[in-house]
């Protein structure tokens, strides 16, 4: 039961706070937000780009417009409402994943390779660029797959930090602050991805195994607490249960 997804999602859930407005993407980001809302953050509001506030999906949605997003939501506005609130600086935190992340916390979901003649043409930004540009702070979840971690992403879909380690001109909010994988917790306080914690039983070498650059360590690299019984019980309500077959 404590698979990679569970480790990532639970660790990410702990980075979310009660009472926050939380803009979430599909997949592990939704799972992380749901765990938080149903453990330590009952007053957190899940926001989807389709216009839903206070969503409480009974199964993990496959689309931001899925039935589980709509049914039981506290508010169904439209895209203009949620992105307007985002642009006005009123959404505290976003949770996103992507195909690639780099040492500055930039996310790529657009192309692998060259933009016009790509090796892999992917899905593009969706709301990712908008959320990363505007949200209060960004929590990133990524599977531990070395190909997904690069020193510089092929295409900056969603801006993190610039080459100087600071937020690019034109963005708002703190940008990426936490990156959770099944092996580790990284932060960006110093302006670049820094190992800050290890999942239970994981070593510092394994945490960055296969990464193409040397990831700095925080002064104190902590060991993350293992998932609690409550967290796992909550996780089981959604994990592996995507929308109906």
């Amino acid at each position: 039961m404590i698979d990679d997804t569970a480790l990532m999602a639970i660790a990410a859930a702990r980075r979310l706070r009660d009472g926050e407005a939380c803009f979430v993407g599909i997949g592990v980001p939704s799972l992380a937000a749901l765990i938080a809302r149903h453990t330590h953050a009952p007053g957190m509001s899940l926001i989807y780009e389709s216009g839903a506030y206070g969503a409480d999906p009974a199964v993990l949605p496959m689309s931001t417009g899925s039935p589980s997003v709509a049914t039981g939501a506290a508010c169904l506005g439209d895209c203009t409402l949620v992105f307007g609130e985002l642009q006005a600086g009123r959404i505290d935190v976003g949770v996103l994943s992507a195909a690639q992340v780099d040492r500055r916390g930039n996310l790529n979901s657009t192309v692998i390779g060259n933009y016009r003649t790509p090796k892999v043409r992917m899905v593009g930004s969706g709301g990712a660029h908008d959320i990363a540009s505007l949200v209060g702070r960004l929590v990133i979840v990524m599977p531990h797959d070395p190909r997904r971690f690069t020193e510089r992403v092929d295409f900056v879909t969603a801006p993190g930090l610039g080459e100087d380690g600071r937020r690019p001109v034109g963005t708002r909010g703190a940008g990426p602050v936490d990156l959770l994988t099944p092996r580790a917790w990284f932060t960006f306080e110093t302006g670049e991805m820094t190992l800050a914690g290890l999942q239970p039983g994981m070593g510092a070498v394994a945490a960055v195994e296969g990464f193409s650059w040397k990831v700095p360590h925080a002064e104190d690299v902590v060991e993350l607490a293992p998932p609690t019984g409550e967290e796992l019980a909550v996780l089981r309500r959604w994990h592996g249960k995507v929308e109906t077959t």
């Binding site: 439209d78 895209c79 043409r121 930004s125 709301g127 540009s133 879909t157 995507v242």
Partner: protein, 292 residues
Amino acid sequence: MRSIVASTKLKSLEHCAAEVADGDTVFVGGFGHAVPFALGHQLIRAGRRDLTICRSGADILADQLIAAGCVARVVFGWIGNPDIGLSHAFRRAVADESIDWEEWTNWSMVLRLQAAALGVPFLPGRVLLAGDTPVQLPDLKTVTCPYTGETLAAVPALQPDVAIVHAQRADEEGNVQMWGVVGDTAVGALAARRIVVSVEEIVDGEVIRASPNLTIIPAHRVAAVAVVPWGAHPSYVQGYYTRDDDHFRRYGDVSRTAEGTLAHLDRWVRGVDRERYLSMIDTGTLVDEATR
């Protein structure tokens, strides 16, 4: 007195699709919810060509329109098969350079449509100012706020020639009601010069007028309405039927090859009328799920 009906907007599915001409810029409604598959499939059957299709997040209906050769250009914020994978027909069309595209973000696409709905040539936005997305939009301009001196993106209006929209219900006059996820459907429709709509059912004007806050498009903006039950399948319609997730998954598999995609279109679209289509889906299960 309240039931005066001037003239009916009620037309066939074929008539509605015929409102879309070759070369048109078409807004495709449906944000995960109420995607106008039946209208889109009719465009494929009618052999429509050289369309520019636009919306924020484009799902497998866009992929099918591309695979069928209807599309010259896509203007989008996202294109794929939600939670499943890529838009393979788009991917192939990019690879063989048979399609043009313009790539924005979901919010900037909504702003483009909102600008057109508001009748202004641009709206200022706080996105498209960093990262590589604006780099790929060489014609994008900025605007300086005359009060604060801030630089904002000048997000240009996008006025579709026609919007195709599916919704829960309408009256004969053409007042269209939708609830559940609205996404960018209302703003995209209102941005367009013409709007054609399919609905699950036509109801009396009295029903519409009993809950006017649910009307997302007023009648005078609507060119034609077709009654097409299950017209959003395999997406869903809140209160009518749920999402056929398996259908999206199967399409994710078969669309990996051009042959698989065309075989899917042969099976589900070309030469298939609505009766045949409905006989191929397990409507009972999908309706039951919706009532959970």
